[in-house]
């Protein structure tokens, strides 16, 4: 139902969104790794410090079928609804759009009547998407000026190309494939955009056949996983430019464009370098009408004894940092970097995007370190900081520790026991682990975190 006034969680600019009231709830995708017929769920965690149930699971909604592998998800509408050229400001931010990465089902979940106990109100079956776009294994969802954009990793057979399709933001009808001309793009993963420059950026992981049975060392060593960034004309839906980051750089994942629409640059992480197992962060920026990239951060692998490592890594005698997620504060100042392998969360000041400065670091979990949380100091943790989400005011950072079922099993063969933690960030980017905030998930594994009202990877803006 349309509203009389814009949804109060929509902000014209990222600067204004930073003034938003603090979040009181988090929604988390949690999947069931045991093949026992129980479905995955969206879990609700209380984030209001004054509440008696602060830092606890307070609700959960089960999916209608088992085996979805919930992963990433997003809102039906956000601040981009205020964009002047395609305004729809009276749509509510109300529904979570939750794809199953394995099942290719998309669940529409209503958070309104009771935000702590959301309800599944619609399920889009994979066949419904196939009627309009030959995509499958749905990953990222973003609310954008034209509707809801969803990326798929590949075709229903599990091959390339993957790509983006659109859902209507009122009816959730599948509108069809987004790309008009895809050029050389075949692999897909994440996407985001520079609304001020009518540019979409997409990244590359691998096809479903390359990832679903685990990381394939042969494909990795022959540089078959993603290594390109793609730039597109967002208006005309045409491929403009592909940038090859080089054969040694494998898996180009999370895209964090500057939130300020006048700033034509952004950051992306590369999971692993074949040269030395390091991870890296790259800057992309507009350059003479085209786009160019530069490596701005390199995080080295750490030496380790073979007996401390899972079989996959024993030959290398080192633990790779495995940077699998990054996030950028709404003022485009602090970049958070998850090192899932070494069990570290870092913060960099990227006010000068060419010269990032490390400002903070906390350790938790890790393949070798197994750093415990201060709330349970005698319990070693596994997994490591992975999906990271930042509050709109930039002061609180939440993260979870599972990557993807079959890959979890390779890097943490003892089975990821899932947790969610929180750090407090001051304005200089120093990080302090909240000693009282540790959420554990009984048998489930948690992945993406979304904060009530929006967060640092949910909204995009048309005004600086």
């Amino acid at each position: 139902m349309p509203q009389w006034k814009p949804d109060p969680t929509f902000y014209p600019s990222p600067r204004m969104a930073m003034q938003a009231p603090p979040e009181t709830l988090a929604y988390l995708a949690v999947f069931n790794p045991q093949k026992d017929g129980r479905p995955d769920a969206i879990a609700v965690v209380d984030l209001a410090p004054s509440s008696p149930t602060y830092g606890q699971l307070v609700g959960k909604v089960d999916m209608p079928h088992p085996g979805d592998e919930l992963h990433h998800f997003g809102w039906n509408a956000c601040s981009s609804a205020l964009c002047p050229y395609a305004p729809h400001p009276h749509v509510e931010r109300r529904y979570l759009v939750v794809p199953g990465l394995r099942s290719s089902r998309i669940h529409i979940i209503d958070t309104k009547p009771d935000p702590r106990h959301p309800q599944v109100v619609k399920v889009i079956e994979p066949e419904e998407v196939l009627g309009r776009a030959r995509y499958s294994r749905f990953h990222t969802t973003h609310c954008g000026p034209e509707g809801i954009y969803v990326s798929g990793l590949g075709s229903p057979e599990g091959d390339a190309p993957g790509g983006v399709f659109l859902l209507d933001h009122d009816s959730f009808d599948v509108l069809g494939q987004w790309e008009v001309h895809r050029g050389p793009q075949g692999l897909a993963y994440d996407f985001w955009w520079h609304l001020g420059y009518d540019t979409m950026v997409t990244s590359e992981w691998g096809t479903p056949n390359m990832i679903e049975n685990g990381l394939n060392p042969d494909l990795l060593l022959s540089s078959k996983y993603g290594r390109h960034l793609h730039f597109w004309d967002l208006r005309r839906r045409r491929h403009l430019q592909a940038i090859d980051l080089g054969a040694e750089h494998q898996m180009v994942l999370e895209l964090r464009a500057a939130h300020d629409p006048t700033k034509p640059y952004g950051f992306v992480n590369v999971v692993v370098s074949l040269k030395d197992l390091s991870s890296s962060i790259w800057l992309w920026r507009r350059d003479n009408g085209g786009w160019s990239t530069r490596k701005i951060i390199e995080i080295p692998a750490e030496p380790a004894k073979p007996e401390q490592l899972p079989p996959l890594l024993q030959g290398f005698k080192a633990v790779p940092p495995l940077v699998t997620d990054i996030n950028l504060s709404l003022d485009d100042r602090l970049l958070y970097v998850s090192c899932w392998g070494t069990g570290e969360l870092r913060a960099y000041d990227v006010s000068d995007p060419y010269h990032p400065k490390l400002t903070g670091s906390v350790h938790l979990g890790g393949i070798v370190r197994r750093t415990p949380h201060p709330k349970k100091p005698s319990q070693p943790l596994n997994g490591g900081p992975q999906m990271v989400e930042v509050s709109r005011d930039g002061r609180r950072v939440y993260f979870t520790n599972s990557l993807y079922y079959s890959w979890d099993e390779q890097f943490y063969p003892d089975g990821v026991r899932s947790w969610m933690a929180k750090v407090d960030a001051d304005s200089a980017g120093h990080l302090t682990l909240d000693p009282n905030f540790l959420v554990e998930f009984d048998g489930y594994r948690s992945h993406q975190v979304r904060l009530e009202g929006g967060d640092c990877s949910s909204d995009s803006f048309c005004y600086p």
Partner: protein
Amino acid sequence: MSSWWPWMILFGLGAYHGINPAMGWLFAVALGLQEGGRRGVLRAIPPIALGHTLSILGVACLVWLARTRLPEQPLRYGAAAVLFAFALYRLVRSRHPTWVGMRVGFGDLTLWSFLMASAHGAGLMLAPMLFLWPSGIHPDPPVHAAHTVAHLAPIANHPLPWFAAVAVHASGYLAFVLLTALVVHEKVGVAFLRRAWFNLDRIWFAALMVCGLTILVV
């Protein structure tokens, strides 16, 4: 009725269209913010005003053609039906353009504004004025009700006052688009949108329904 009233209503409808954030001023403000300054705002306004005026002119031409060729009474029923149907359609399904962006030139902005005005039925809102032309807008002293429609038809059929009507509407629109865009860009800032961007869709629905009734009743 004073002979000035219809002109003022036309101007006022222009102003009403002009202050609607979906009709252009907000786009001009955004382009100014993106391109750094008042020049960006001022560059955007001429094509936005042109597109709006062309949409209104299109409806005015259709009504004029219809009035010169079709019998009065069925035409009124038909026009009222179009207005009711359009109002209901907008109530059920209000779409927004999906092909535009922020890197737009003169032609893009003209077409965008033309489509936004047409899709909102901006021109249709003027239909009652255009139908009530003989007794309403004729710039001579007020016409007496005793005069027959046949007597007035030649005046109504002359296109010049129709162009004047479109021009008056367009000037009201332009004045308010320009004023609102500059005030928001220079003084107020876009933060107030969060509180003051009222959903005008239902008011437009009501306005279109009233227009349909007016054509039928007056």
